[in-house]
Amino acid sequence: MATAASGAPKRARSPRLEFVGGQILAFVGAALFAGFVGGVIIVLYGENPLFVYATVLNYATARPEDIAQVAENATPLIFSGLAVAVAFKAGMFNIGVEGQYIVGMLTAAIAALYLDWLPGALLVPAVVVASVLGAVMWAAIPAVLKVKTGAHEVVTTIMMNGIAISLVAWAILNPLKSTGDQSVDLRTNLFPGKALMPSIAEPLGLPSSVHLTLLFPVALLACLFVWFFLYRTRLGYEVRAVGSSSGSAEAGGVSIGAAQIKVFLISGALAGFVGLNHLIGDKGYLGNNYEVGLGFAGIAVAFLGRNHPAGIALSALLIGVLIRGEDGIALSTELPTEVLIILQGVLILSVVVAYELVRRAVARRQLKEEAAVEAAAPATEH
């Protein structure tokens, strides 16, 4: 006690550094543990885990194109992870990122098909805005229901997801059904080329076959934006206060309902970016085979990234590596690619446990040091 007290002023590490260090330590520890469990499974399949992991890493990072592919995989996950995290910071669970981006794709498709008279420089932003508006509209309904009637957002957003899927199915079967060609696929007409997201592959000196679009840097900017919003704006401050202690926030003059609605709309806006990579970065039409599950994947990404924008970017990239690695595994080994999905699951579970362990250890340390500080300071009553 005495030594801790006398040493405290000198030795005092920044609590923040301690916190970040602990998080990184937890993640690395969890990753090693997940790798070990995955290794056991791989051994049971009669393969060499080291070879499998090397293959994954090789496919993900060997050539610049591979890294670009990882970034491309990560792009929608960054957006959906951010969307989940922002709502989570206000103490809300946005399960509806899924439905929100699906509706966003629909409104984006409408814009791409019907605003084709706009010049290219305006059409792409218009499509993006349409997607964001669609998703925000879809998020607004559960947000208002929650604040006005108390309907829990988990329940309502799940229902909104179901409605979103049916809505898109109806739209591509009826008003937006492709005309002209004899395509068996159920889909809209092809979008005009000027509605597609510009690729950044060639400016970066990559082969034009690589699908890396402007959306990836936008995703990184979105991380910065979310960080700034949460930690540097008054609304972000209020949102975090509501999320951690709604009673104290309320007594501090924060309108809980208003903060929750605003943040849910921001969450929906971020969700509006999730489907764009698929829609105007890759396919160029909205078909019934559109990519699903990105919203749910966002929950895992937000979780792995501890709801912090930097953590979300990193964990989205990690998942991007694993997705890319699936190709390698399919080509070079006899393993089912599901092994990597198991690996993801184990990783998430071990990360949860590891973060909790580290959190407790850090809290214990901090309590101890606070106690030392209190004991050391002389009583100077007023």
């Binding site: 704006t233 008054r234 401050y237 007594a251 003059g253 924060v254 901090q366 606070e370 009553e381 007023h382």
Partner: protein
Amino acid sequence: MTASEATTSAAPEPRAPLVVLEAVTKRFPGIVANDSVDLNLEAGEIHALIGENGAGKSTLMRVLYGMYPLDGGRILVKDREVRVSSPRVAISLGIGMVHQHFVLVDRFTVTENIILGAEGGPVLDASAAEHRIAELAESYGFAVDPHRRVEDLSVGQQQRVEILKALYRGVDLLILDEPTAVLTPSEARELFDNLRRLRDDGKTIVFISHKLDEVLEVAERITVLRRGRVVGATRPQETSKNKLAEMMVGRPVLFQLDKPKVQVGEPVLEVQDLRLGTHLNGVTLEVKAGEILGIAGVEGNGQRELAESLIGLRTPDSGRFSIAGADVTGRSVGQLRKLGVGFIPEDRHHRGLVLDMTLWENSCLGRQSQTEFSGRWGILAIRKIKDLATRLIKTFDIRARGITVPAATLSGGNQQKLILARELEDEPILLIAHQPTRGLDVGAIESVWGQLLVQKGQGRAVLLISAELDEIYELSDRIVTMYEGRISGEYPPDTPPEEIGVGMTGGRAGAAADAAAGATVKER
């Protein structure tokens, strides 16, 4: 079992030790809550365990009751070493405990609550149980109807149910954790009578408290804890209030604060017939500049609803209140704060601080909308907020490792100082202080009280709501009592506590209050 050990209450001859704690040590992360504590409980005594908050009284008793595992030392019951691994084991050893917060099922009857967990088989024999409960209640003078639902009982009656619960299980040793914290003075007196009766029947009672007057009144032996250690053991006839306080705190304590004489000014807060659901039934009061109005009353008589209405957390159904002459009924928390209302909540964790956030982030909660801290565009002025936090730490002597630690890591006293500092720094014209010293140790209480008196000295209005009569007496210039959502009386500060106790039970003779909990209350 009990009867064989009962001694006559007349002779204070050395009695057989019922429970002996030897060098009991209990550690929590960062602190030693009990440091090699020796305690010896004799059969048929009332033993007071006193100390400041955080001295380790409750922890020690929870160890004995099997709620916390032992980190060192041993426990002997009737000369046999025992391992108390759970409350269930404790009860089988004849040790029972009544917690500060009752653990009763509101919708169950008294009987159902008492036999819960001790049903004695898969088929309930309710009538036999009722019979036994009635017998127990009668022999110790506990007036409780076994058929009433717990939700219909007063707090004092609920406490009796808790005690009966322990007696029903045949305990010889009954631990009461701060039993008078929720009682009016007259209810407390009744409790003491009941405890004496139990003692005369051979039961041993451990009485945890930090109220010295009542300890001196009811206990036969007193053990004082400070920072987890036993610092003294004495008897009421050998000591005094001041001596006990000095033992508890480790230095002489002043019990009389100097109330500064201040010229009382214009009314700052005027409340007119405020009503809210069943909680507030027409509250009318007035606080002037330069005075502290103390609202005394047993918890749960509408104090929380009143405080929360006045800061805008609740909207009253009818009635009005005005601040500095302007009607502000129905304004939001933000608007009221802007007008200069400061708020010290009774629950600092759920109404005061955001524990996960840093000390500096907490230092501007409630003022985040001021342009000084978030500019015109809603972007936080981090530098200025951190300067504010540094200033608060310095002027209010908040002891922390820095301003970037989470508020959760501060001690209760420092958390409260942080709230006080934050609310006072903005120089409110009206301060609503609801149980401002709950759970604080004597040193911190002195500091909070001093700050409230400074506020008054500077000509501000202070509304003090407290269930601690001591606190009301120390600070108030005028005292009103609150009962069932009404102001039930107004008194000058030199009124004897018994009279105020009458107001706390609705303005009638206090003892009759329990007997007719459902009866209507006379309007003031």
